[in-house]
């Protein structure tokens, strides 16, 4: 085997490993992107959520109620 052929094999080997590395980086970044998307979805879901409550309403019959709440007069 000549010296030139060894160099060609060596170059092919280096290119192969370099290619694998690039693919791995692509996969890693895809995973990171997916994780980020899920996180964003979860965050937006938590921005607004319903509060559990029970309520009963009453009509206030006593006229003394009126003067003391000026902030909600029409």
């Amino acid at each position: 085997m000549g010296k030139g052929r060894w160099i060609v094999w060596l170059l092919l080997l280096v290119m192969t490993f370099a290619g694998c590395g690039t693919e791995a980086e692509v996969i890693t970044s895809e995973i990171a992107f997916e994780e980020e998307s899920e996180s964003q979805v979860a965050q937006s879901e938590h921005q607004n959520h319903s509060v559990a409550y029970a309520t009963e309403s009453y009509m206030v019959v006593s006229p003394s109620f009126y003067p003391s709440i000026p902030w909600c007069r029409f």
Partner: protein, 150 residues
Amino acid sequence: MDLPFLNENTMLLPSKYWMSDESRGKEITYQELCQNRFDDDFFETNDLLLIPQITPNLGPKPTVGDFQYDSQAKQYELQLYSNDTKSRAEAQGVFLHVVEVEKGLMDENINEILRITQVDTGYTYTVVSYDHVSNTVSLLKLTQTAELGD
């Protein structure tokens, strides 16, 4: 309980008797309401929000709508409906909404606020502070921040 806008003798008529022929004699005092429905056991796991509402007349029945929490703004939002018909024929209606929530829902130490919107009239109120009365009842103090013209 000594509340600025309610006293123990204030008469209340439950919503199920509004517009009802059976309403006579169904009124209860605010004191009776607290004693009968909201005893010490109740307050071990619940807080009460007392929300007054005035409607333009006595006819419409106001209701409480959605109650949501915006975690980003750290703000609770409660919607009220006055079912206002824009009629000015009768005297104003005064109502009290008693809202039962999980105990500690609004922790004054982290400065969360409750924004109340009277949806169908455009009135918006924002709570600027609230007090704990008798270690049980949360009283809301509201400030009107927006209104629509007649």
